[in-house]
Subunit: 318 residues, 2 copies
């Protein structure tokens, strides 16, 4: 994935749309290729269209050697939404007096569920949204992003590497970014009914529009670009580690929490389910298997218990 060549700020949002869309679509190819090369298995590819405008391509690798499931989904959707719908869906009003507001949204999501419980699962999502009339004053636009690492066994070196890689990108744009986005990530990936976080965090931001679009476009491109160089070595370190049946069982139970997060807590998944998006694409983020056991508690001092301690109290990793 080569770097994004930034054009000078033009004030014309179609330039940004074209650039971000082309970049995310190209990244889908590059990322699928890298993951497929590592695994040895191919991705299937499904194109879908949205009745109201736009569509996407969902690529999935299932039952591979390294990955039990990997999803790389690209979407570009557009059309009109009522101002109420925009407010409900996005938590903020569009600057408009029209009854139907034009909108445009594009995003890339990567969800990786490795087979070996020593390899953490990963979720990456970068997206751009704008709505309202094209004139600069009346339009609303922002970027959003997620990079989250969900380990089943705690390897501090992996957590640190993941956070440091994302902090390095954040710091190049704004020294305040990483601290804010790390905290927002811990907050977002939280299961209130379990008093527990999903994973060891990373970065999370929404509604980011505090500097020129062209700059933020560069920021999310750089974030996306940081992912494979830090995640692939983690996979390489862990993928051939010996696994006991008890560890496999633990993996399944923790995937149960992953399912709970997706179906109960994740605003993105719930929004997809409620708005009748492509259901198979929305639920392609689910783990391939999960388990539930009544009152399961890891033994004090065990590796499993050490993980839970960190999920209960998020740590500083970078």
């Amino acid at each position: 994935m080569d770097a994004l060549t930034l054009r000078p700020p033009s004030g014309d949002r179609t330039v940004v749309r074209d650039d971000i869309t082309a970049y995310l679509a190209r990244s889908q190819d590059v990322i699928c290729q890298a993951l497929a090369d590592l695994d040895g298995g191919p991705f299937t590819s499904d194109d879908w269209t949205r009745a109201g405008g736009g569509g996407g391509t969902t690529r999935v690798l299932e039952d591979g050697r390294v990955f039990e499931r990997a999803l790389v989904g690209f979407s570009e959707i557009y059309g009109t939404l009522s101002p109420e719908r925009i407010k409900t869906a996005l938590g903020r009003s569009a600057a408009t007096t029209s009854s139907e507001v034009p909108f445009y949204a594009t995003g890339l999501s990567i969800v990786v569920h490795p087979r070996n419980p020593h390899v953490p699962a990963a979720l990456i999502n970068y997206r751009y949204f704008d709505c309202g009339e094209p004139s600069a004053e009346a339009s609303t636009w922002w970027f959003g992003g997620i990079a989250n690492l969900t380990p089943f066994y705690l390897y501090k070196e992996d957590c640190k590497a993941f956070h440091q890689a994302h902090k390095a990108v954040c710091d190049r744009y704004d020294k305040a970014f990483y601290g804010r986005f790390k905290e927002a990530c811990d907050e977002f990936f939280y299961l209130p009914h379990r008093s527990e976080h999903r994973g060891v965090g990373g970065i999370f931001f929404e509604g980011l529009n505090d500097r020129p679009r062209e700059i933020l476009l560069g920021f999310i491109a750089d974030c996306l670009q940081a992912f494979l160089p830090v995640y692939m070595p983690i996979i390489d370190r862990r993928r051939n580690m010996a696994v006991t049946p008890a560890q496999t069982r633990w993996h399944q139970l923790r995937r149960g929490r992953y399912v709970e997060f997706n179906l109960i807590c994740d605003r993105g998944t719930r929004f997809g389910l409620e708005t009748g998006a492509n259901i198979e694409a929305v639920l392609a983020s689910m783990p391939p298997q999960a388990a539930w056991q009544y009152e399961h508690k890891p033994s004090p001092g065990s590796d499993e218990d050490r993980l839970v301690a960190v999920l209960t109290n998020p740590r500083a990793w970078a």
Copy 2:
């Protein structure tokens, strides 16, 4: 489980509370004993108390010979709720002007996840609720109930027997009950994002208070009493049937839908999760394992396809 001896209507709701609570608690013992005898494995038993008043006993059998998981949970909770909370939780107002309304709720839930995919899963729940001052005019009370059969392979004889057993009880009380409650059950056990029902239905009712409490108490006792005599023979017919790996896989995938229903659609589970009830007790209804596969579709004309056809278009069974 012997029949409930009904006392003559007394107008005193504590009599009804005592009777229903004692009956549900006693039924828990009897049902656990019957399921444990069939399986050979014991139930664990956990007593829990609720901070605001009351508590319950959760009994679970896991990893048995016949049942991968069976849950029989009894609860009796009471205290006060704000009128707003009652309205939000229950969809209707309590007749009161107080800021805190006394309430009382008791229920028995049975969730059975058999090991063999030819044996359907079953969910049974009967409950009583009242709130407001004890004087007859100002108080609100009702009964609720669920009996739902969730097969993984379609055996019409099982579906008919389950429905007929419940229809027979309904008909003894009101010829209009079964038709209404069967339809409400199909409506309740529906996954809108899949355009598919969970299971082949049964009966579902909520807010039932259209005749004297003592009569309705007899009705739900009779419903509960109808369960084992129809479900145990179904288990007996199917528990030793040969199972292929493809059938086990299908079982897991359908349990994925079961999880989706519980976590996304089931008002009871969501209410439990949101109100900070005993989480382990709430989620003890989950299947022991579940799986998701991208774009999985049964082959046309297969047994799996025949099931899906019925889940998409509920049938008349009795």
